[in-house]
Each structure stands twice: as C-alpha cells, then as structure tokens.
C-alpha cells in the first residue's frame, strides 16, 4: 500500500524524504497510518466490527479486575496470612515473600541455601556465556568442567567445612535446571548419533536406531520415568542401587533424544545430495564429512524444532514428581501444605509459572537470534 496512499494524502511527501522505512516519518503521518491500519484490519466490514467490539468487551471484563487483583489490591508483604484474608484483598504476594526460599530450593537445609543459590547463579552464568557466539571456542569445555565440579561440590558439600547434603534433599530451581540441562545436554549427542544411524547403510545399525526411536516415541514420558525408577532397579543385581536423580536424568535423556533425533533427521534429509557428493569427491572420510559439512548445515536448518523440543523437555521435567523428586513445580505445590497459607494456590502457581516462562521465553528468543546470526552470511 504505503507509498502511493501517502503521496495521495500529502503531496509534499516525497520518496526522497522517506526511503522505505515504514516506521519512520512525520508524527501526524504516523497517526494517520495507525488510524488507517485500525480501519483496515479491525473495522473493515460489519462482521469484523462486531468481532472487534466483542473482543474489546471481553478484554474489559477480564483485564481491569485482574490488574486490580494482581497489583492494586495485592498484599505485598506480611508475616502472617491474616492480612490477606480481609475482604477485598487481592493477590497475596506475601505468601511468595514468606515461602520463596522453599519454592526455589525445596527441602535443601534452610541455613545452607546459599549453596544452591551460588550454584544456580554460576550455572546460569556459564549457560549465558555458552550462548554468546564470540565465546564459542574450545575453552568452553574446561569452563564447563570447572563450573560443573564447583556446582557439584556446592550442592553435595561434605568438604571445606560444608555439611553433606544428599541429593534426595535437593529441590526447586536447581533440581529443575539439573534435570533439564543435563537431560538435554546428554540427549543431544545421542540424538545426532541416532539420526545418523537411522540413515545408515548398515542394516543392523539402522534397525537398532529405528527400533529405539519408535519405541520411545510410542510411550509417554511418565512411563519412561516409571520404567527408569521402578522397573530398572528390578533388573539390577542385588545390592546395586542407582541414584534416583541419575535414573531420572537417564529417563529424560532417552525420551528427549528420540524426539531430537527425528528433528535432526529432517535436517539431514533436507540437505541436497550434491553436498554429500562434493564432500566425498574431496576424499573426506564419513566422520569428517558428517562433522564438517553435513551437521553444521543440517543442525542450522532444524534450530526451530530443536528449541521447541528443548522447551518441551524443560517443562516436562515437572513430571519427575511421580518418582518423588522435588522439582520447581513440586516445591511450589508443597509450599501450600502449610494449612495457614493453603488457600493461596493461585499465587504459588503463578510464581512458578513466571519462573518457567522466563526460561522458556529466553530459549525461544535465543533461538531466533541464533538463526538470524548463523544465516547472516550464507543466505542466497
């Protein structure tokens, strides 16, 4: 539309004044544009106008009361729930104020909670550094080795005068992060191998990969976790126990890897045959070809479905509740066990939801950034 319409309305408006930036321009021009947009998209016909009005009415019904509840009438701070129980009181954020340490760290000994706190901060800092492309180098490997060791020492303790805390007492945000990041981190290389194996010319390898992927995809995560936590120990020899946390990580890893493998296979398939042939004709070996030519291109193509699966896995870690692990959602729920505060479940879940959302939203935005960045030079 743009240029002609503008020129018609304002003859003084020339192509030179505004190149092709639709947002730039004279202020009154912008108001005109907005009005034009509103008319064109919201009131273009009678049914469209009715739909717009109905939506506006519904928003009017929902938003002001919500804002009132969440902000204006909310009780932000109080030692007891009584302040929240008066008539007309809104959201009881005092609940979160009182219980946030339990929600964030679960059953971890109260006086030692600076340890998971430090571990989480370190962990997130390392994640953030790994997300920043200029930092991509082989130094990330020792960095992660150090960070994971320090986090492990902080969480377990038992050295440097810190008391020992068994991982059955871990909970909340650290647990959710450990489950999802290690689960995804281990699932990813496995998924690459599965996707390559599924396209292999060797029948045995192909069969194993197809069977694994189809089996895992055919069952819900809950049952994989059940298998990992209840069935698995039955097959172990007497006296051998495998850590419950480790079993959950393995379950999440296996489940996620099957889905990631299928996403990656999509990328492998979309690569033109000429790329494989060019790599072959240079004399590259299978693994050189895979690492240098195939995967860098295939993975780039499948960033959106990969991140989709990462987000999904991150949220699905909340299912570990069924094997008795105390992740973020479970601790938010358990915080409500206090009879005094029991009625404030909405606040508890909203708080947990905000935490989940922040991580998921970051992943989503980061994937968009990464896609743009990696495709910057290569776009035809």
């Amino acid at each position: 539309m743009r240029q002609e319409e503008r020129d018609a309305r304002n003859p003084a408006y020339t192509h030179i004044e505004e190149p092709d930036e639709p947002t730039a321009g004279h202020p009154t021009q912008r108001v005109w544009d907005m009005l034009g947009w509103t008319k064109k998209h919201l009131f273009s016909s009678i049914p469209n106008t009715i739909a717009t009005l109905v939506c506006l009415y519904l928003l009017w019904l929902i938003i002001p009361p919500f804002l009132d509840w969440a902000f204006l009438s909310a009780i932000w701070s109080s030692d007891t729930p009584d302040a929240c129980k008066v008539d007309g009181a809104g959201a009881c954020w005092a609940f979160v104020e009182q219980k946030h340490r339990f929600i964030l760290f679960g059953l971890y000994p109260f006086d030692e909670q600076w340890r998971p706190m430090t571990a989480v901060v370190l962990f997130i800092a390392a994640l953030a550094a790994s997300c920043y492309p200029p930092f991509w180098s082989k130094w990330l490997i020792p960095l992660w080795a150090v960070v994971l060791t320090v986090c492990g020492v902080l969480m377990y303790g038992g050295v440097f005068g810190m008391t020992y805390v068994d991982n059955t007492q871990w909970g909340g945000v650290p647990l959710t992060l450990i489950l999802s990041v290690t689960g995804i981190g281990l699932a990813f290389p496995l998924a690459v191998l599965l996707a390559l194996g599924r396209r292999s010319n060797l029948p045995a390898i192909k069969t194993i990969c197809v069977t694994f992927i189809e089996l895992i995809r055919g069952v819900p995560l809950i049952s994989v976790l059940f298998m990992a936590s209840i069935m698995f120990p039955l097959f172990m020899p007497e006296g051998v126990t495998v850590d419950k946390l480790l079993r959950a990580i393995v379950g999440i890893m296996l489940f996620t890897s099957a889905y990631l493998a299928e996403a990656i296979r999509g990328g492998l398939q979309s690569l033109p045959r000429g790329q494989y042939e060019a790599a072959d004709s240079l004399g590259l070996s299978y693994w050189q070809k895979t690492r240098l030519i195939v995967l860098p291109q295939a993975l780039r193509i499948v960033i959106p479905p990969l991140v989709n699966q990462f987000i999904s896995t991150f949220k699905d870690t909340s299912l570990v509740i069924i094997i008795g692990l105390f992740d973020l959602l479970t601790s938010a729920k358990t915080a409500l066990a206090d009879p005094e505060w029991r009625q404030f479940y909405a606040e508890s879940y909203i708080f947990a939801a905000i935490l989940y959302f922040s991580f998921a939203f970051f992943m989503s935005r980061y994937s968009q950034f990464l896609e743009r960045r990696l495709n910057a030079g290569t776009r035809r």
Partner: protein, 270 residues
C-alpha cells in the same frame, strides 16, 4: 567424408587458442574395462571400454540420459559399477574405503551445480580438503588457496560466502577447490551447462589453461569449441554405450556412425 560436419559455430570459443601440446604420455592412468552398470533393472552402462593416458584430455559428449555423468561418477566411486574393472592410478576400485578415499584425493571433480559448501566462506571451501584430507598445515593451505584463487581470477572474493557470488564465479571457485587438492586427474560434469551464456567463457578459459598445462582431464561437455581446441580425444556416447571415439578433428569432420552425425548436426544447429 563429404557430408562431414565442421563444428565452427559453437556458442563460445575459448579465447586462448590451445596449441595441441604433445604432453600426453604413454602411461594409462584410467582404464575402464568392460564396465557394466545397472540402476535397478535399467542397464545404464553397457560394456564401456576406455583408456585415458597421463596428460590426455578427453571430452565426452552425447545426448542427455546416455550415461555420461554415470561413467565419470564411477571413476571416483560416487556410483558403484557392477561388472568389469575400473583401474585408477593402478588401483582397482573395490569396496575398500581407504583405497576409494585415496583415489578421490587424487581425482578432482567439478559438478554442473557447483556444490560449494554454503556455510563456509570461499577460502574455507578451498582449505577444507587440504587441511583435513592431506593434513596440510593451515598456513600452507591458505597460501595454496590464494594461489589458485588468483589463477581463477577472483582472489578478492576469498572472504565471501558462495551464495554471494555469481554462477560463473562459483564454478571457478569449485574448480579452484578441486585444484587445491593437487589432483593428477580432473573430472568435469557439464561444468558450464548451469551458467548464463556470458559466464561460460570465464569458466572455459580456466579449463583451457588447465588443459594446456597437461592436466589429465575427462570433461563431459557440449562446448564443441572447447573440444576442438584442447581435446586429444572425443568420446561420443548414446544409450549407455560408447558409439564412437576419435580425435576431435576426425570425429567432427568424418563421423563414422549415423548417430554421431545426427547428434553433431543437432548440436551445431541450435
């Protein structure tokens, strides 16, 4: 003989008029001995026999679908043949992966659709093979790459991505990429057929120079001007068979087979 066709009016005549250097040696570097190949039930190559000597420049032509690409793709094992022997540099092609990789190292290939690696810059495309396959030190690989980029006359494009280049430039990079491996044999599969007419010449010029330096080449192409000025041998294929094989002069002036005659007249009319 009287109805021999002189292919003078081809689309592009290489600028350099190549003297037919007698660089060709006696040593046979590629031997196809009764090669047969099937795609399923389709018999695509029928009893192909062909000897290529060191320094020989062979042009393969023939109608579309006659198996030209398949023949040269068998030579570096991008396709597997089912009967007969293919011997490259004294090594018989089998399923031995190490032997195949060794042959591929020494046999460069240029494709119709360039097949540059789009996620790597031009320079990275060129040094990838030398560094990973030949284990050349990076510095040396970069020097070699820049030398060949000069040779194909686009050193200024080194840091661009393939997608930012024209078709002719991409194909010249592809040739340079093969040359960086220092191959002793080069295979070309219709290197100019995906190019706009004005870019064909820049690619042919590079190939002519290469031919004059005595590179062993097998080149599938319909550029008859190129064949006439540099080829030692022209092979005409149809229906998976080698119909006729001769020096360009003889083949163009005096085709022995009716099918060759028909094909040549078609190619020259268009």
């Amino acid at each position: 003989m009287s109805n021999g066709i002189e292919p003078t009016q081809t689309t592009v005549e290489p600028s350099v008029d190549a003297p037919k250097t007698p660089a060709m040696g006696e040593e046979v570097v590629i031997r196809l001995d009764n090669v047969n190949k099937w795609f399923g039930h389709f018999h695509v190559l029928k009893d192909i026999n062909l000897d290529v000597r060191r320094g020989e420049r062979v042009v393969v032509c023939g109608p579309s679908g006659s198996g030209k690409s398949t023949v040269i793709r068998c030579i570096n094992r991008l396709e597997e043949h089912q009967q007969g022997d293919i011997i490259v540099n004294g090594v018989t092609l089998t399923n031995d992966v190490k032997a195949i990789e060794a042959i591929r190292k020494d046999v460069g290939m240029v494709f119709q659709s360039f097949n540059l690696f789009p996620h790597l810059t031009v320079l990275e495309n060129l040094i990838l093979g030398p560094i990973w396959v030949n284990k050349t030190p990076r510095k040396e690989a970069v020097d070699t790459a820049m030398y060949y980029l000069e040779r194909v006359k686009i050193p200024e494009q080194a840091s661009k991505y393939p997608g930012q280049l024209s078709g002719g430039q991409q194909q010249r990079v592809a040739i340079a990429r093969s040359l960086c491996m220092k191959p002793s044999i080069m295979l070309f599969d219709e290197p100019t057929s995906a190019l706009d007419p004005e870019m064909i010449k820049e690619v042919l010029d590079v190939m002519v120079e290469l031919a004059q330096e005595g590179m062993t080449m097998i080149c599938v192409t319909h550029e008859m001007g190129f064949a006439r000025s540099v080829a030692d041998t022209v092979v005409f294929m149809a229906d998976g068979q080698i119909v006729e094989k001769n020096s360009p002069k003889e083949l163009f002036a005096n085709p022995q087979e009716e099918r060759t005659r028909q094909f040549l007249s078609q190619i020259i009319q268009h």
